[in-house]
């Protein structure tokens, strides 16, 4: 998940000088006039330079200047994805009967409920919210996390805040500016979402509720990131912690939504609250107040924590390291292990937990449904699976394999970060060939994907088997289903290797964009009514429908060959080109 940062850092660096000189000018003027921004000190009599929020306005302007591309892309992506969903649903579901039947089949399908949450009616608005609402909320949450970490801990780690902190800025100015800009961006997203929905002639109140809920999802996770940014010295860790909270929130409601007995889990999750605002079906406005209160509480907590620590330090103090290297730390491969073992452990924990919980929740899914036989056959035919449980498990593994691919891409992109930040030079000036150096990360990326999916299969099998009583066969069956996804995830990691070698300038943006598009098409393409040839473009489309379906090895072999081909092409190109 560092990848977006890597690229962003490139252009921030280049503007750093300019930004800070602006800041100094502002600082000089500051003695004479009061701050214009909403975060300036309230009373005019107070000397602003003594105020802990002094300089917030300038820092916020600096953040906006640095983020003018980053924010526009996020806002466009979030608003655009809702607009396209609304547009297509407007044309797809004109008859009330069709909408009712869709709503019915959604409620009958646990995998739909786990993935996108419940549907609260059969109006057009309700269906659109079901289709896109949760995903946009997750997107807004990621926006909040990335933007806040970028302007707090990442700047602090890079030393930029030190430069700024030496000018006339208050202790909390950086945090306040980051939150102000991020919350502002979330509110803009929310407003635009409401405008888009109203423009499509959806009820105004519901549209406003949807916009507000999405904005508040972003704000809450901005608050989470503001807290995690205070905890560790590393921006990477802080970002990872905040994303874990987001992932946990998604997981809790993924378990709670399809299982009425566990629905309290959805009420624990902030994303569950966002779903339960149910914008077009008698909005629960009070839930928005809860979200706003949580945001304020998190921001206050972050401020308290920030007040208790030194600049550059985390609340968790850094421990001294080893005076010498462990005996095994002697090659690029072991270095990659040394650098990644902590992160990999986190990924493994997340996978084990998610898979066990989702697997356990699969039991009883069929029993709690009052689906008509017709709906049942429809679902089964669409997924090619033999039972509702299998269809649900297949969605679980599809989701986890996209996550595993994200792990692979992030690992491969370390090559790019090492090259851009000069660490590659330290290795390659030693007796280490480029292939040996680059292959180390590729091995961990590919191996990590396989490991994570194997873990997912085993844990899901254990979770489900423990409740049905047939642990052995379940573990074997689900392990096979999980591992079948591995070659498809390898293709995406292989593509990232190819990009590192062939297109060093656009590596990061291209790799994540491809992953995001593949995830969207893979998880939502079928219900968006995309044509088959588009669906076939993603590697995951070629994975045999397991568990339950028939296993064929041919596509898996092909996917592996494609992945290997991409990786080899990338490594060969990397060996030939100049180091940047």
């Amino acid at each position: 998940m560092t990848a977006p940062k890597g690229r962003a850092a490139d252009w921030t660096e280049e503007r750093q000088e300019r930004g800070t000189s602006d800041l100094r000018d502002e600082g000089r003027r500051q003695g004479k006039r009061e701050w214009g921004g909403g975060w300036g000190p309230g009373g005019a009599r107070e000397q602003s330079s003594a105020h802990p929020l002094a300089g917030t306005g300038t820092l916020a302007k600096l953040a906006l200047r640095r983020d003018r591309i980053f924010l526009v892309i996020w806002v466009y992506a979030l608003v655009g994805s809702l607009a396209s969903t609304t547009y297509s649903y407007h044309h797809l579901f004109t008859a009330a009967g069709e909408r009712a039947s869709l709503a019915h089949s959604i409620l009958a399908n646990p995998s739909f409920l786990a993935l996108s949450g419940p549907v609260y009616g059969d109006s057009l608005g309700a269906l659109i919210v079901w289709k896109a609402g949760l995903f946009i909320a997750v997107g807004a949450g990621l926006l909040g996390i990335f933007a806040v970490i970028r302007h707090t801990r990442a700047d602090e780690e890079a030393g930029r805040l030190e430069l700024v902190g030496a000018t006339v800025v208050g202790r909390f100015a950086a945090l306040a500016a980051a939150l102000a800009v991020t919350i502002g961006a979330c509110l803009v997203v929310g407003l635009l979402l409401a405008v888009v929905q109203i423009a499509f002639r959806l009820p105004a109140a519901g549209s406003l509720a949807l916009g507000a809920a999405t904005a508040l999802a972003g704000c809450m996770f901005a608050g989470v990131a503001a807290v995690t940014a205070q905890l560790t010295e590393s921006a990477r860790t802080a970002r990872g912690m905040a994303i874990s909270v987001l992932g946990l929130a998604y997981l809790l409601r993924a378990v709670g939504d399809p299982a009425p007995a566990l629905s309290w889990l959805s009420w624990v999750s902030p994303l569950g609250w966002i779903e339960r605002v149910q914008p077009y079906d008698g909005p629960r406005w009070w839930l928005l107040l809860v979200c706003a209160a949580v945001t304020v509480a998190l921001a206050a907590a972050a401020a308290v924590l920030a007040g208790r620590r030194d600049l550059g330090a985390g609340l968790v103090p850094a421990r001294p390291g080893r005076p010498d290297a462990a005996g095994w730390l002697r090659s690029p491969l072991t270095l990659a292990w040394r650098l990644q073992r902590g992160g990999l452990a986190g990924w493994m924990l997340a996978f084990a937990l998610s898979a066990a919980v989702l697997g356990a929740a699969a039991k009883g899914i069929g029993a709690t449904l009052n689906s008509s036989p017709q709906a049942r056959t429809d679902i089964l035919r669409a997924g090619g699976h033999t039972g509702l449980v299998d269809a649900y498990l297949a969605i679980e593994f599809a989701l986890l394999s996209v996550m595993a691919a994200a792990f692979g891409v992030a690992t491969v992109l370390r090559l790019h970060a090492d090259e851009a930040e000069g660490r590659a030079e330290a290795m390659l000036a030693g007796p280490v060939s480029r292939i040996r150096w680059a292959a180390a990360e590729v091995v961990w990326a590919m191996g990590g994907i396989a490991l994570l999916m194997a873990l997912a299969g085993v844990c899901s099998g254990l979770g489900y088997g423990a409740r049905t009583g047939a642990i052995g066969p379940e573990v074997a069956r689900q392990l096979a289903a999980a591992l079948a996804q591995v070659p498809a995830a390898w293709v995406l990691a292989g593509l990232a290797v190819a990009l590192v070698g062939l297109a060093p300038r656009v590596t990061v943006a291209a790799a994540w964009t491809v992953l995001a598009v593949v995830a969207l098409v893979d998880l939502l393409g079928r219900s968006l009514g995309l044509s088959q040839w588009v669906l076939d473009l993603t590697p995951f489309a070629h994975v045999p429908a397991l568990p339950g379906g028939t296993f064929t090895a041919t596509p898996l072999i092909w996917l592996t060959v494609v992945a290997a081909g991409l990786a080899v092409a990338g490594l060969a190109a990397f060996r030939r080109r100049d180091l940047t």
């Binding site: 005076p323 290297a325 462990a326 330290a426 390659l428 030693g430 060939s433 100049d578 180091l579």
Partner: protein
Amino acid sequence: MSAVIEVTGLRKAFGRTQALDGLELHVAPGEVHGFLGPNGAGKTTTIRVLLGLIRADGGTARLLGADPWHEAVSLHRRLAYVPGDVTLWPNLSGGEVIDLLAKLRGGVDEKRKAVLLEKFELDPTKKSRAYSKGNRQKVALIAALSAGSELLILDEPTAGLDPLMEAAFRECVEEERRDGRTVLLSSHILSEVEALCDRVTIIRAGRTVDSGALADLRHLSRTSVRAELARPPAGLDQLPGLHDLDIEGTRVSCQADNSALDELLKRLTDAGVRSLVSQPPTLEELFLRHYTDATS
């Protein structure tokens, strides 16, 4: 014995910028060679070509008799490198980085490492994230100096060091020279180059503008002379080879080409010398002359 570094007519362009434009660099075995040039002259680019990190567009570069691009791995076993801007793995301790880099070359010389840690006063247990620029530089220096390689390539290695540490660094380079190792030292700090280097190469805008033993280079340069005389001197302004001549009554100051020194001194003694100060050119003057001449 053949040259350790043999670069002729080296060319490298980045887009429309011509970074190297026919650069020459010759380093003999066992010498400490100063590599001088203003920012952006192409010092680091040359070093990156020598390390096989980038490929030259034209010309030849030989390192220890081999091609630095194709033989990168086997060459790197025989050299150690300190970059100008050291970036380390933030969550590895300094000690871990030093050991890792040493082990990649074959093994750690624990005794030498301990001596160097002491000498540079580095705490190896700190995480790289927490090191200052100077301390990161020390990590890279200790890793390179403990390697015992036959060639050291140092790219502005003392940029972040305090004067005490600079002195420690000079001692280490002297030791390397005594052990018969070759050092390529790219630097801005002229006093350092002057103190350490046998020969220097001065480059500008990707071209070599001067190269040779420090003594020879000085020979080509001027001596600054200041004298106080008994009588106002006669005929100095007609003398060829004098520059910046300034006569104020009985005080004279000027820069003299070495070819004009003899004649100058004769005329000064004719006027009766009360005091005389003559200074050999410092490297700084040499350096400034090359750049101001070339830019004007």
